[in-house]
């Protein structure tokens, strides 16, 4: 791991004890951040490291994976212009309490990203100024990127032969250990 990045992670860990040790996989460094300290850690990383750019905010649904304790994993991909480095923050969000603090006050670009994750995964970003659906229609029911969201479709009959609907034909593969977990 890059020394600068190691120092940044160590400083973050010293300041916020709940932040995990950095883990390097595929040449990419990730740290796990508990939900409640996310805005503070984000602000610290933006100002002190500094990670000026929130490049991407994504989410992974770990449904059906016995190794996963918390179903959702929100991933923030940070980029530092100063050091030309990338860092991934991972925030575990449990099923039944799908909330996560918003980082829009730290990186305004998170606004649409968080709306997208809310739209597709149903994760409520607390403190977001305008949390509405963004890509699906406003009156849509459900959150399509969840693994238990039905694929839908209808049975097709042609000259007596039946082609089952996509949600029967194309079952998503069940995972046997999503490797994202650090804890």
């Amino acid at each position: 791991m890059n020394d600068v990045l190691a120092n940044i992670c160590a400083a973050a860990r010293e300041r916020f004890h709940d932040v995990s040790e950095p883990v390097e996989l595929f040449g990419e460094v990730s740290i796990d951040v508990p939900r409640r300290v996310l805005p503070l850690v984000a602000k610290f990383l933006r100002d002190e490291a500094p990670f000026e750019l929130l490049a991407d905010l994504s989410c992974v649904d770990g449904l059906g994976d016995p190794a996963v304790r918390d179903r959702f994993l929100v991933a923030l991909h940070l980029y530092s212009f100063t050091h030309n480095l990338r860092l991934r923050l991972r925030v575990a969000v449990p099923e039944g309490d799908e909330t996560c603090p918003s980082v829009t006050s730290v990186w305004p670009t998170a606004n649409w990203h968080e709306r997208e994750i809310f739209d597709f995964f149903g994760i409520v970003f607390e403190g977001h100024p305008d949390l509405r659906r963004i890509l699906m229609p406003d009156e849509w029911v459900g959150h399509p990127q969840r693994k238990d969201y039905p694929l839908g479709g209808t049975n097709v009959e042609y000259k007596g032969a039946h082609i089952p609907p996509p949600d029967i034909r194309r079952q998503p593969t069940t995972t046997t250990g999503y490797p994202g977990r650090i804890s």
Partner: protein, 424 residues
């Protein structure tokens, strides 16, 4: 916004506003407006000609690509991602394939890397040409529309020659390319480049000192570096604001570190700055394509791993692209093992080791990032795309609020969003 609905219903405008007690009106620009580059809807609150607020409404072109990829194998993913940002299909394919290759721990052979660079830079030119053509037309430079699309057409002809399709190529595959360049391709590309430099000079002569063009672009849609970074804006918009950030230079992939090219920047941060940056980027791209042509050395274009490499050998026949007759003869008549192998790899696909990666590439619009998660199966567990159009579009209200409604067109054109990428 305390809006009251007005139905104009064939009356005179004086009568309409005379009957309304409010000072501002809300106008829906789009989703069918010709200058919204597809199906973008902008809800504008206007006080006379001044834009008080601008709220982009997106999602009209949402096709569920990220969801669809999860129920198909890794190779099929390429045919989905190439359809997102339809003006830069090669970048979509490249980002996705680089992510899959990173998870697999493989690297495409050198010739494939060079061809990838070559096609991406040609694609950057064709994408910028659409921006120049449509952006020019929207500001009244109608001839730009014809010129821009004429040159783009020659690039699409090259793409058709090389990949069999004008767009949505699915040519870059995990592990390399689906097939090699046709023998006449380098000559044809060279001929295009020889012609193209002069054409760019013509466009510059047509626009760069045109008083109307300057008036409509200078000082319009200003986005300063600090705001651009806060709003996550990348690509030509960021470079026009003075930050020389280009992933090809800063975090090179596909051997970009070996190419000699400049990263053009401006400090004005306005529509005109973005125009200058994009024009110069086209010249730099042409430079890179020439270098890539010189670097082309014979060799394989797909990794030598039968567990991953696509088994078929494609060939252009009289009825279009398909499996080569010799290959069909081999799997159907000679080797049952080859048939089993083909069947297994084509229907089931290869497995990708479990893990997650984030791979960005520099697309014509900025950082195109792929967050790809594998659970160790033949299908991706999750593919999230950070599309630069999606993020850049967020900056539009910041660029246009407080300005004139006519400047919304100029600012939006210089932002160059592709709604296929925004909505995915």
């Amino acid at each position: 916004m305390n809006a009251q609905e007005i139905f104009v219903g064939g009356r005179d405008w004086d009568q309409v506003v005379g009957g309304s007690r409010q000072d501002t009106i809300v106008v829906n620009m789009g989703p069918q407006h010709p200058s919204t580059h597809g199906v973008l809807r902008l809800v504008l609150e206007l006080d006379g000609e001044t834009v008080l607020s601008c709220r982009p409404v997106i999602g009209y072109l949402h096709t569920g690509i990220e969801k669809n990829i999860e129920v198909r194998n890794w190779t099929q993913g390429v045919t989905f991602v190439t359809r997102m940002d339809y003006l830069s299909p090669f970048f979509n394919e490249l980002g996705y394939c680089l992510a899959v290759e990173k998870l697999l721990g493989i690297e495409a052979p050198p010739r494939a890397q060079t061809v990838r660079v070559l096609l991406c830079e040609l694609n950057r030119i064709s994408s910028h040409l659409v921006w120049l053509a449509t952006g020019g037309m929207e500001l009244g430079a109608l001839s730009m529309m014809l010129y821009g699309f004429r040159e783009r057409e020659s690039i699409l002809d090259l793409f058709e020659l090389i990949t069999g399709q004008r767009m949505n190529h699915a040519y870059i595959r995990p592990g390399g390319l689906i097939q090699d360049l046709p023998a006449e391709a380098p000559e044809r590309i060279k001929a295009f480049l020889d012609d193209f430099g002069g054409k760019l000079d013509e466009y510059e002569a047509l626009l760069s000192e045109n008083p109307i063009w300057l008036q409509r672009n200078k000082g319009i849609g200003v986005l300063r570096a600090r705001d651009a970074v806060a709003l996550g804006v990348t690509g030509p918009l960021l470079r026009a604001a003075g930050i020389a950030h280009d992933l090809r230079k800063r975090q090179p992939y596909c051997g970009y570190e070996a190419y000699d090219f400049e990263v053009p920047t401006m400090t004005t941060g306005d529509s005109f700055g973005r125009y200058v940056v994009r024009l110069r980027e086209m010249r730099e791209s042409a430079k890179i394509v020439r270098q890539a042509l010189d670097r082309l050395s014979p060799g394989p274009v797909m990794i030598d791993d039968p567990k991953i490499a696509w088994p078929a050998q494609l060939k252009l026949g009289p009825d279009g692209m398909g499996n080569a007759p010799e290959y069909v003869r081999k799997i159907m008549g000679e080797s049952m093992e080859a048939l089993i192998h083909h069947f297994k790899l084509v229907t089931d696909g290869f497995k990708v080791p479990a893990g997650e990666v984030y791979v960005p590439v520099e697309s014509p619009r900025g950082e195109l990032g792929y967050h790809v998660v594998s659970a160790g199966h033949t299908k991706p567990w999750r593919v999230h795309v950070r599309d630069p159009s999606f993020v850049n579009l967020q900056a539009l209200p910041h660029m246009v609020e407080g300005g004139l409604v006519a400047d919304v067109i100029s600012a939006l054109a210089s932002l160059d969003p592709v709604l296929g990428g925004v909505d995915r």
